[in-house]
Structures are given as structure tokens and as C-alpha cells.
């Protein structure tokens, strides 16, 4: 009976992945509770750019510093990053996307991959680009996802530790969780180090009809602490399992991380961590990440089930309905976390 149950899950996920590939995505990789899956043009558990999943790593690092008394969660972010002029903005608001800090990616032109794939940005250039715009809303008024928050979080971590954020994330999260295939690219690094799929993106993200290009080689300094990291589905799933199991944060900080504000009708946002409803009841915790060429989703439940999926193209790249592809990704995670 146990054998039959495992077979059921291990068959259902391959079917779901095959369907995603069948509809036009070149490749898909997934991990569910210790098993790796791949379909189409993608190696089993190859390295992928996880984009905004980086935010969970950065938030964990920041919350460890809160536990150490080096960062005040409800203190002003301006205490750590002087460029944040509104002293009402708290560290919590930064980590929760309720700060009102305007987003920067379009201001630096990330939509056109040719303009940014070979371009090195200093973290402060990202912040400068954001802060030439007016605040989106008064601090604390509402939730609105803004990458600028995590650039601020990265600079804040550097300020209080005196070390590069990449090094702090490596030492405090990647090493501690034993994520052997996960790294923060070095300055100027544009290739992916380990075995990996080729990833594809439309040349202008704002124009779905623009030509598709190979997006695999990319300078991710434009994403920095908001999305620079490389990982694998197995490492992403393991990270969230260990995080929710208390392996990276003490209980008070993990509790803070899980205090959410509503994001949309299906999810709520904590501190660099999002909760999603499960079809079988309850919820799972994780984060999504999209960057040129890659779309990822990963997380875990309180009882230790864990999963991650990455597509080698953003939903919609090959003419698919983006909302439908996104739902298929969520369904794979739901299957992995719900099905016996």
C-alpha cells in the first residue's frame, strides 16, 4: 500500500510536467519530498536562476541579525541605509513590501534583456533609480511588491555586518542548510556553474510578441539582493523545509517571518516568505521567483513536506497563457504537498 501511494505521486507529477512541456515550455524541473523530476529540455535537478526566491534567503539573514540584536525589526530602515529618507519606514515594512518604496526594474530597463544582460549595476545604482520616483504610498498603508525593498535589505545587512551580503547569505543560510548547489554569483559572473538547462525569454518582457532569445547567460547584478541567486529545485525545497523546521531561525524570528499581510485572494506575504492555501486544507510557505528565462516556485509545509519547480522560460514566452502556466506550477506544488 505504501508502494502504491508513492507510485501515485511519482506518476502524477511527471504527467503534470509533461503537460507543461507539451503546451510549449522548453523544459521543466521539479523536486517533491526527496525525489527529482524533469521533463523536456532540462537536466534532472539542474541549476536554475531562482530570482526572487533570493528574497527568502535575504530575509532569513536579516532576521538572524534581528535575533542577534543588530537590527531592530520595528526600527527605522533609515538608521541602516541613509538613502531611505522617510524615517517612518521600518525594517519590517521593507521586508514585507509595505514600505511604499517605488520599484526600480523598469526604471533601469530590465525589460529589454539586451540592455541588461551584460550590464553591471552597483547596488546603489538600483536604489538611485528607485528613489528618483515618488513613494508609491505612505509607509504601512498597504502591501505592494517592490524589489527596492530587498536592495535596501541587502545594504542594511552589509551595513550592520560589515560584510558583503553574498558572504552573509552563504555563511548564515547556504552553508548552514547544506545547500551544495546553491550560490550567489560573483561580481560580473554571467554563466551558470553546474549542469543546467538553456533558458529562454522574449527580448522585451513588455512586448510578448518580441523575438525569443536564449537568456541563459546573464549578469544578475540588476537583481542583486532582490533576485541574483542560482540554486536547484532540490536545494530550494530543502531550504524551505529546514527553514520551517526551525533550522535557520529561532522561534521568535520564524514567528515574525510568518506574520502575514494579505497579498491576493490565494496568498499572504510575511517577511520574505509567502503563504499559499493548499487544496487539501492548510497552507504552505515559500516564495516564487521570475527572472529572464526562468520561473520558479518553492516551499514547504509545517509537517516537512517540500517541493520546488522551475520552468526554463517565463510563462507566456512560447505563446502559452501566462495565468494558466502559473496555475500549473502551483498545481505541481499542491500535488507534491497534498497527495499521499
Amino acid at each position: 500500500m505504501i508502494v502504491a501511494a508513492v507510485a501515485a505521486l511519482s506518476l502524477l507529477i511527471p504527467q503534470q510536467l509533461d503537460q507543461i512541456v507539451h503546451e510549449g515550455t522548453p523544459g521543466v524541473e521539479a523536486h517533491a519530498n526527496g525525489r527529482n523530476y524533469a521533463a523536456g529540455k532540462a537536466p534532472v535537478n539542474g541549476q536554475v536562476r531562482v530570482g526572487s526566491i533570493t528574497k527568502s534567503f535575504v530575509a532569513v539573514t536579516a532576521l538572524q541579525l534581528v535575533a542577534e540584536g543588530k537590527i531592530e525589526l520595528d526600527g527605522p530602515a533609515s538608521k541602516y541605509v541613509q538613502y531611505v529618507k522617510d524615517s517612518r519606514i521600518t525594517v519590517r515594512q521593507v521586508l514585507q513590501h509595505t514600505s511604499g518604496l517605488p520599484d526600480y526594474p523598469l526604471a533601469i530597463g530590465v525589460n529589454k534583456i539586451a540592455d541588461i544582460r551584460n550590464r553591471h549595476f552597483e547596488p546603489h545604482e538600483l536604489l538611485d533609480a528607485a528613489l528618483t520616483q515618488p513613494p508609491s504610498f505612505p509607509p504601512g498603508e498597504k502591501y505592494q511588491y517592490s524589489n527596492t525593498n530587498y536592495v535596501v535589505a541587502g545594504l542594511m545587512i552589509q551595513r550592520v555586518t560589515g560584510r558583503p551580503v553574498a558572504e552573509e547569505v552563504q555563511r548564515r543560510v547556504i552553508d548552514r542548510a547544506g545547500l551544495k548547489d546553491t550560490y550567489w554569483p560573483k561580481q560580473g559572473e554571467q554563466r551558470i556553474r553546474g549542469k543546467h538547462a538553456q533558458a529562454f525569454a522574449v527580448s522585451d518582457l513588455l512586448d510578448p510578441k518580441s523575438p525569443v532569445v536564449n537568456a541563459t547567460e546573464l549578469d544578475t547584478s540588476a537583481a542583486w539582493a532582490a533576485g541574483a541567486m542560482v540554486s536547484t529545485p532540490a536545494d530550494v525545497a530543502k531550504f524551505y523545509r529546514i527553514l520551517l523546521g526551525g533550522g535557520l531561525l529561532a522561534k521568535p524570528q520564524l514567528d515574525e517571518m510568518r506574520k502575514t499581510v494579505p497579498a491576493d485572494d490565494k496568498s499572504a506575504y510575511g517577511l520574505g516568505l509567502e503563504s499559499f492555501k493548499l487544496s487539501c486544507g492548510g497552507e504552505w510557505w515559500g516564495h516564487g521567483g521570475t527572472i529572464h528565462g526562468w520561473a520558479s516556485l518553492g516551499g514547504a509545509t509545517d509537517n516537512g513536506r517540500n517541493a520546488a519547480i522551475t520552468l526554463t522560460a517565463l510563462p507566456g514566452t512560447f505563446g502559452t497563457d501566462p495565468a494558466r502556466t502559473l496555475q500549473q506550477m502551483v498545481d505541481v506544488i499542491d500535488t507534491a504537498l497534498c497527495k499521499k
Binding site: Q82, N118, R119, H120, E122, P123, H124, L155, Q158, G162, R163, P164, A166, E167, K186, Q187, G188
Partner: protein
Amino acid sequence: MKKTLVGVLAVAMLFTGTAMAAPATTVQKQLDGLVKQHKFPAALSTVTESNGRATSQTSGTAELGKNVPVPRNGQVRVGSNTKAFVATVVMQLVAEGKVELDQPITKYLPGAIKDERITVRQLLNHTSGLANYTQYLGVEKFEELRHRYFEPRELLDIANAHPVTNQPGEKFKYSNTNYVLLGLLTQKVTGRPIAENVDQRIIRKIGLRDTYWPGVGDQTIEGRHPHGYARTSSGAVEDVTELDPSWGWAAGQIISTTKDLNTFYRALLKGDLLPEAQRKEMQKTVDTKGEMWPGAGYGLGIASSPLTCGGRYWGHGGDIPGYETRGGVTQDGRAFSVALTALPGTFQDTPEEAGKAHDAVLATVDAALCGAK
């Protein structure tokens, strides 16, 4: 300890006055003297003849308190020699039409500094008058900075918070801030990190196998190297080989060897790295008026110094906690570089002794370039 990183230090003013005669000596005797009389733990040097033949020599110990052979042509932090590398990249960009020497820096980096009159040239030859951030960084307590990572913007912010020293173009006043701005300029117009620019446009181009720009957060020296020493604010001498050089960045981050420095300055002056017009611009000097050693003129990221045997040599020099380097190349293409594993003042108890130690370093360069074997 104020003199850190300033290859051509303000403190050098204290060190002037001693006449430099080229004695009948050998390079080995000079190195031994630097170790025995002037207490540097190690001295390393390379002579490169005009035909390219290089001879590297050493003296002292690689580790204080032990008898560890100093690796021949070992790696050292070359501090402000980095400026010559960065200036060369900027001049390549000038040759490519991407940067104009006499345009204001704010044309390329809007808002980076207040004064919109300051030109790229004034940054290159230290006549901008911009406050030198290293004066305000707290290097007196180097132990507190040693492992600290700085974003380049943080260095610029420190400079911008302090008063200028002179009107743009008025006079020579050495300021590391100038080269932080030139690093940012290079990144802005090329879209690539300054480290990658230096690596591709210079290091790989002329095959400097032992030279590199340490990556973000890298505190080690990767190849064979002697240990470097500095004094803490309490007066104790500490092994500072490992440190985060981010506070030097485009003003002083590079690791190299005496042999590679010779190869670099030879290639630069020979015209292997720049078209003639840009090389000539680089050699237009301003009077350093007591800011450097006697008779020194400063061009665009390179300095010209007189030799006791007549003629001049071109180089830069560099000081960073743990290491001092001096040297350059003469008109006939003979080059010499020397590295010490402490700054003058680390093992000398008085400013006078420190001054004599620095004079002895310069005298070694002079002797070698005047023909000492």
C-alpha cells in the same frame, strides 16, 4: 598610520631631505639593508632589463618570528599602483571615444559630486580638490576596518561629506576619492565591473599571470606570498596579510608581484596598452609640491621621479597596511620594483627612523635603476 594606501603619501613630506646617492652597491645588498637596518620583515624585488630578462631577489623572512624563505616574486598587495591600472583603462576609453578627458565627471556620473566643473583629467592627476575619504575612514584604528566591506558609494559618500581642499585644477592634492570616481566612471561607460575591465584590458592582454583584482569579499592572497604586517592602534604589530581591500577599491585593491609591475609599467610606457596620443597625455605631469618624494611629477595615474644618475623613471608606488611597493621604468625600458612587507613606521619607533626607512626604499629603486646589479 595615516599614510595608508597613498602610494605617494602625504607623510612622505616628513621623509624628504635625505640626499639619495647611488652607492656602489648591489640590489641584494640593498634588500638586505632594508631588512637588517630598517627592520622590514621581508624585501622582494625584480629587475627587468630592457631586453625583458627578469631577475627576482628576496631578503628576510616571509613570516615574522620564524625563518621562512620569502617566495621569489611572491604576491603582495600593491595598493595605489592600482591607480595606474585604472588610469590606463580610462585612457583606453578616451582612445575609444567613450570618455573625454576635459569633460566634467558629472557628465558621466550625474549627481556623483556637487562641483560640476571637475573634469576627468583633474581626477586622473589629483587636482580636483575633492576630499580624500581615507583621511576620514578611521585608518588610525585599522583593526576596526580590516575586515569591513565597503560599497564604493560609501567611500564617495564619506568624501562628499567633507570640505574640498582646493579649487578644481588649482593644485596637486593626492586624493583616493578621485580614483573611486574613475572606477565608477569606467563601470558606467562600459557597463562592466572595474575589476573585469582591468582584467580583460590589461592583465590578460599583456599576460600578468600573478596579478588580479580580489573579488567582492575576498580577504586572502591567492598565490605564494610573504606575510604583511601593520601596527594596531594599541601599538602591537599584527599579521594583516588577510584584509578586505574594498576600502581601496579603484584606488588600491590590486594584488600583484614586483615582476608583473615591471611588465605592466614597461608595456604602458612602450605603448603596448595605449595609442601614442593617450600615452603622451598620461605623461603630462603637474608639480607635486612636497606631496610626494622630491622632484616627483604626477601625470595621469603615473608619476615621474628623478634618478641620481640622471634621467627619470615612471611608475606609481603603493602603500596599504602590510605592504609598500616602489619602482618604475626608465626611458630605455629598464624596470625595477621593490616590495616591503610593512609600511615604514610599522617597525620604526620614531618618524625620523620611519623617514629613513622610506628613503632607503627609494634609494634601492634609484640604485637599481642606475645600474646596480
